[in-house]
Amino acid sequence: MADIKKDLVEKIKNKINNNLSDKKLKNLLLRLIDYESMNEEQTFKLYKDHYNSYIEESLDK
């Protein structure tokens, strides 16, 4: 049984993985894509903390 969203997300992630050399940026984009693909539309209050932590973690890379 195909997980449509998963397949689409994997395609995007593959593209980022293959084409992006900036580690910080790559890490951030992959984390954000994973987050958005695993979560339904969230309120700002809910997603901002996740976004900020992903951004901070990526800056440490």
Partner: protein, 659 residues
């Protein structure tokens, strides 16, 4: 992914339990369910929406419990009031050989009265096949929702469940932009996720801007103030330490002076004592001198008598003895003596010789005899007195002597003590001690002053420490803010890069996907369309509107027949499914419902030849599934059902039919 079976229980007109087996043969990928209008064709289309999305496709305005229930009307009619009828649909998905997912929805319909009902205990169940452990249910609602959203995204459900009668909605012809087409492309390509990330990142970036209000000048001011305070404190601490040092030195000096002062006190005491001793010695000496004089005076006075004391005592004792022996003559009258002389005889009768007579005559003549007739007794009395005096003097002398001895001893002690003190004080400079005493007083006074000064410094240091603490807190806060601001700047930069990259991906992917979809849709459309000489190219323009370019260069979209648009829709669905690699089955309700004039067998031909990768279920009317269409599609049809409607009880039976 294939639909393997649908089990229906009392859903709408499908009374009792009925099952549809779908064709899972890749060579015969079509399942056709034929039914005339009103027999429950669309009901099958709707039940998929109901099971997956809890939407039975009845317009919301009429979706009330008092409208016709989901429960078979025939069953509902037979129910007693407050009795319950069960409705359920179970869909089995899987591959050619086995069921891997079961999604079912059940509901209980409670009959309230003849026409009204209440739905209750609505439940969706999803079972997933796990290798080795069989079918396992998803427990939580969120798990189920997530599963449906990932495998049957509701936003692109029209790509799986296609209603031929709602073709206009699909193409959205009333809008200037082909928003729906754009939406499908985005959703099917995952660009919606990129867009969501872009939107969310922009919000986070905006929030960062709000936070990033750091003013560096304030930090500089605080730092300068803090530096000044620290320096001032350092200065004060230095001063305080100096004072402390001075106090320590003073303390030492005071201690030394104090030690000396003990000596001074001792010397003072001894000096005082010495002075006293001098006086005492003088007093004693004077006293001894006086006493000695007294002693000698007494000695001179009594000395001679003392020499006769023995004789006096002897005299006294002799008189006492004579008295005792009555040998002391009584006092005689001279006339009597004269008579005795005359007689020549003594009282005792003895003869008085001449010598005695002469002596007696002399006595009588001098009358001494008479005058001193009491000489013995009187003499003894005097002697007694004398003896008493002598004894008294003797005692006095003894007493004086004793006293002298005592005072001499006293004087000796005084002299000894005096000598000791003089020996101790010998070599001590009293003046120096006075200077020390004065210095001590001064030191003590100075110390008091210093302690006061130190207290003042301490207070100032405390104040400065408070200021430093405040300054440090402020500085730390500002540093954190600065750090946060720097972090914000870094974050903003990363966000900017991410946004650029995402936009780049989005544009690039979107353009590429759109081009791919356009290319595949164009190929399929031109392959499927029967007027091959008329249509030259299919274009999805910048507004996501389809343009069907004719060979003469004109856009024919507006003049397409319903059948041609149907082909266009299929071409688009197939293209988007291929590009997005969606392998979900297609359920097409009344595929030719809007087609009046076009040769449906051509469409069927096109579907048969060009959508072979999909498992397709056609819900068709008899008119749609005419002999020509049937013949055209026959090679692909694996299962064929007819819906047999019983008008008497308004129920439908699903019957598999041979082709």
């Amino acid at each position: 992914m294939l639909i393997r079976k649908v089990h229906i229980e009392n859903y709408r007109q499908y009374e009792g339990r009925q099952t549809i087996d779908f064709s899972c043969d890749p060579q015969k990928n079509f399942t056709v369910i034929k039914g005339t209008t009103g027999t429950g064709k669309s009901c099958i289309y709707n039940m998929f929406h109901w099971v997956l999305y809890d939407d039975d496709m009845v317009p919301k305005s009429s979706q009330n419990d008092d409208i016709e229930p989901l429960l078979s009307s025939n069953i509902f009619k037979q129910l007693d009031f407050h009795a319950i009828g069960k409705v359920g649909v179970k869909i089995e998905f899987g591959n050619k050989d086995e069921t891997t997912v079961i999604i079912e929805r059940n509901i209980q319909v409670k009959k309230l009265d003849r026409t009204n009902h209440k739905n209750q205990n609505k439940k969706q169940k999803i079972f997933i096949h796990h290798e080795g452990s069989g079918m396992k249910p998803l427990e939580s609602k969120s798990e189920k929702t997530a599963y449906i959203n990932r495998h049957f995204p509701p936003e692109i459900s029209q790509l799986f469940f296609f209603d031929g009668e709602k073709l206009d909605q699909f193409f959205d012809p009333r809008r200037k932009r082909g928003e729906k087409i754009e939406h499908f492309i985005k959703l099917a390509s995952g660009i919606d996720i990129i867009e969501r990330i872009i939107a969310h990142l922009k919000m986070v970036d905006r929030e960062l801007d709000k936070d990033d209000s750091f003013d560096n000048r304030h930090l500089i001011q605080v730092r300068v103030q803090l530096k000044n305070d620290i320096e001032e404190k350092k200065k004060k601490v230095g001063l305080r330490d100096d004072v402390n040092e001075k106090i320590v030195t003073l303390d030492q000096s005071i201690q030394e002076a104090e030690n000396k002062r003990t000596l001074i006190d001792s010397i003072e005491t001894q000096t005082k004592r010495l002075s006293e001793l001098k006086d005492l010695c003088k007093t004693e000496e004077d006293f001894i001198k006086d006493k000695k004089k007294e002693y000698f005076d007494a000695l001179v006075l009594i000395g001679p008598t003392y020499l006769f004391k023995k004789e006096l005592k002897s005299f006294k004792d002799r008189v006492d003895v004579l008295e005792k022996e009555n040998k002391i003559p009584p006092p005689l009258d001279p006339d009597y003596i004269k008579e005795l002389l005359k007689e020549g005889k003594c009282i005792c009768g003895r003869h008085i010789d001449d010598e005695s007579k002469i002596m007696l005559k002399k006595l009588v003549e001098t009358k001494a005899y008479y005058e001193h007739s009491t000489i013995y007794t009187d003499g003894r009395t005097h002697v007694n007195y004398m003896l008493k005096d002598i004894d008294s003097f003797q005692d006095n002398i003894k007493e004086i002597n004793k006293e002298l001895t005592r005072h001499e001893k006293k004087l000796e002690d005084y002299l000894k003590e005096r000598s000791n003190i003089e020996s101790t004080l010998d070599g001590i400079d009293i003046d120096e001690l006075t200077v020390i005493q004065q210095q001590l007083t001064k030191d003590k006074k100075d110390k008091e002053g210093l302690i006061e000064e130190r207290g003042s410094f301490k207070q100032e240091i405390l104040t400065l420490e408070g200021m430093i603490r405040d300054g440090e807190t402020k500085q730390n806060k500002l540093l954190r803010k600065e750090s946060s601001s720097q972090l914000s700047a870094k974050k903003a930069l990363l966000i900017k890069d991410a946004l650029e990259k995402l936009k780049e991906y989005k544009d690039e992917s979107f353009t590429k996907i759109k081009e791919n979809i356009q290319k595949i849709a164009d190929q399929l459309f031109r392959k499927m369309i029967w007027k091959k000489d008329v249509f030259d190219m299919l274009i999805i323009d910048e507004n996501f509107k389809f343009k069907v370019m004719k060979t003469d260069g004109m856009d024919a979209f507006g003049t397409l027949s319903a059948g041609e648009r149907q082909i266009l829709a299929f071409a688009f669905i197939a293209a988007i499914s291929k590009v997005a690699q969606i392998d979900n089955p297609l359920l097409i309700d009344t595929p030719f419902g809007r087609i009046d004039d076009d040769p449906t067998e051509n469409i069927a031909e096109a579907l048969k030849d060009n959508l072979s990768q999909f498992q397709i279920t056609f819900l068709m009317t008899g008119k749609e599934f005419n002999e020509n269409v049937k013949e055209t599609m026959r090679p692909r049809i694996g299962k064929y059902y007819e819906l047999q409607f019983n008008e008497d009880n308004a129920t439908t039976k699903i019957k598999e039919m041979p082709l």
